[in-house]
């Protein structure tokens, strides 16, 4: 008898990230993931303080994996937990992570990222590295392939990808949308227009590179400059990889905006994100204002968390000086209804 195969649920990345936790807290977090209806976004370890997890709010975890609001009932993170976790994250080779300790984060296999804090070693006013780690924030990478599909048709004009800026406040899904846009244009998901994309991933957040190899899907035609400063990386990609589109996350400084302005006359399109609540906020940022004023950006996608992470509040057409008639909609709801980002 023929049977139709049932679609299997994609396992929560939290399960895969458990291997980086020390055995004691691994049990606690596993218990929390099993019992939680929401997807875990972050696991926070602070020395001699309660173990916490972020999943649609911050929760202190009890030893059995349940949640509590009383710190006294929570699992307190000991030195063994913290050092054991750090040792697993560094494959018992902390000495190979000096650059990561200077930058304050370690990228892990699977694209997950561990933010670090603790006592810093400073010389001549410059941070050398974090000397002793006392806090670890394990941020779980989550791919949502297809999340940006609804945006794609609005970001093309005359057969070319428009110079696009995605703006939002923190935790509204900028990076997730950026990653999926890169994947889609690199794979040619819109009318077969396959573009060569050059991605400057300064903080290893978009492609989640581990030893330079992308752990997250950024498309078949994407070249990644991992851990490279954005301004330098943009020009380097332009000179060496002849990209059709250059993508960067969290645009901010004058140098970065200037490097993007250089692309205007090089026939290369741009896909970038920036922190801003709305267009007014964006125009108040001097570095980005000049980029907009010079026609460096053709489309601005405004995201928020109003209907959930990845809510599109509007798509601004800079050339027409108005919003496109698309209304507002939530990108995440079309992928997994009811699920937290």
């Amino acid at each position: 008898m023929w049977q139709i195969a049932q679609p299997t649920k994609v396992p929560d990345p939290g399960y895969r990230a458990l291997e980086f936790l020390a055995p004691g807290i691994r049990q606690v977090v596993a218990g929390f993931i099993n019992g939680s209806r929401q997807r875990v976004q972050e696991i926070r370890l602070r020395l001699n303080r309660p173990l916490m997890a972020e999943a649609d709010g911050s929760w202190m975890l009890r030893p059995d994996g349940g949640v509590t609001v009383h710190a006294a009932r929570a699992w307190f993170v000991g030195e063994t937990d913290l050092m054991g976790t750090l040792e697993r994250m560094t494959a018992s080779s902390l000495y190979t992570m000096e650059e990561e300790l200077r930058r304050g984060f370690i990228t892990l296999p699977g694209g997950h990222r561990a933010g670090l804090a603790g006592e810093c070693l400073v010389r001549d006013g410059r941070l050398l590295r974090i000397k002793s780690v006392t806090s670890i924030n394990l941020r779980l990478a989550r791919e949502m392939p297809g999340i940006a599909r609804r945006l794609l048709p609005f970001l093309w004009s005359n057969g070319r990808f428009c110079r696009t800026l995605v703006i939002s406040p923190p935790k509204a899904g900028k990076t997730t949308v950026l990653r999926d846009l890169i994947r889609a244009i690199s794979n040619g998901e819109i009318a077969g227009h396959r573009c060569k994309v050059g991605l400057v991933d300064e903080r290893s957040e978009v492609a989640g590179c581990f030893h330079g190899v992308p752990q997250l899907d950024v498309g078949v035609q994407t070249d990644v400059l991992d851990g490279c400063p954005k301004a330098e990386g943009i020009l380097l990609l332009l000179r060496t990889m002849s990209p059709d589109v250059v993508a960067v996350d969290e645009l901010g400084s004058y140098e970065e905006a200037e490097a993007l302005r250089d692309l205007l006359h090089a026939g290369v399109s741009v896909l970038a994100t920036a922190h801003a609540d709305n267009l007014e906020d964006l125009r108040k940022r001097p570095s980005l204002f000049r980029l907009l004023a010079d026609g460096g950006i053709q489309r601005v996608v405004v995201l928020s968390r109003r209907l959930g992470p990845g809510t599109v509040e509007g798509i601004w057409d800079e050339t027409a000086g108005s919003f496109l008639p698309v209304g507002s909609f939530c990108l995440s709801s079309q992928i997994e209804p009811g699920n937290s980002w």
Partner: protein, 169 residues
């Protein structure tokens, strides 16, 4: 029959003496191999910047005999346990019967387990070099003893056997 028995006693004691003398020489050879291995490990950590598992495996490839097996086993344990200190300790325990080392030698090697893989590059190298220096001191001290004891033990077994035969007769 008596003559056969006498020869058996003399050669038995003689062989015992030779085995003990050999153990002295073997211990020294093993300690020297460990020193070489740890120096190579310092290079792997300090210059090649290889992760510890790879570093231990590469050290094993450059050594031979049971000490090479020790480093290879430590790399395997690390891959399984994900904890350098535990992997080092467990390998030390597993090799207690396979290497001719004294309690002091094992204790000296065990000191590395507290620091291996969990500090920055400079401190890793310092810890390994300190361990090497301690082993070198042990080797120097032993070398004098070995010179005297090895010669004594080599002949003492036979002489003791002969004395025993004379007393029994």
């Amino acid at each position: 029959m008596k003559l056969f028995g006498a020869l058996l006693v003399i050669f038995g004691f003689g062989a015992g003496g030779l085995i003990l003398a050999n153990a002295y020489r073997e211990r020294l050879a093993h300690l020297k191999q460990f020193i070489r291995g740890l120096n190579l490990l310092a290079v792997e950590v300090g210059y090649a910047m290889n992760p510890l598992e790879t570093a231990l495996r590469r050290v094993a490839q450059n050594l031979n005999g049971p000490v090479a097996d020790f480093f290879a086993a430590a790399a395997r344990q690390l891959a399984v346990l994900n904890n350098a200190g535990e992997a080092w300790q467990r390998t030390l325990k597993d090799f207690q019967g396979k290497l001719t080392l004294t309690e002091t030698d094992w204790a000296c090697l065990a000191e590395l387990s507290a620091l291996l893989g969990v500090t920055d590059q400079a401190n890793q190298i310092r810890a390994i070099r300190e361990n090497v220096a301690r082993l070198e001191a042990v080797v120097q001290e032993s070398q004098e003893k070995v010179k005297v004891n090895e010669r004594v033990l080599r002949y003492a077994g036979f002489i003791l056997g002969m004395i025993l035969v004379l007393v029994l007769y």
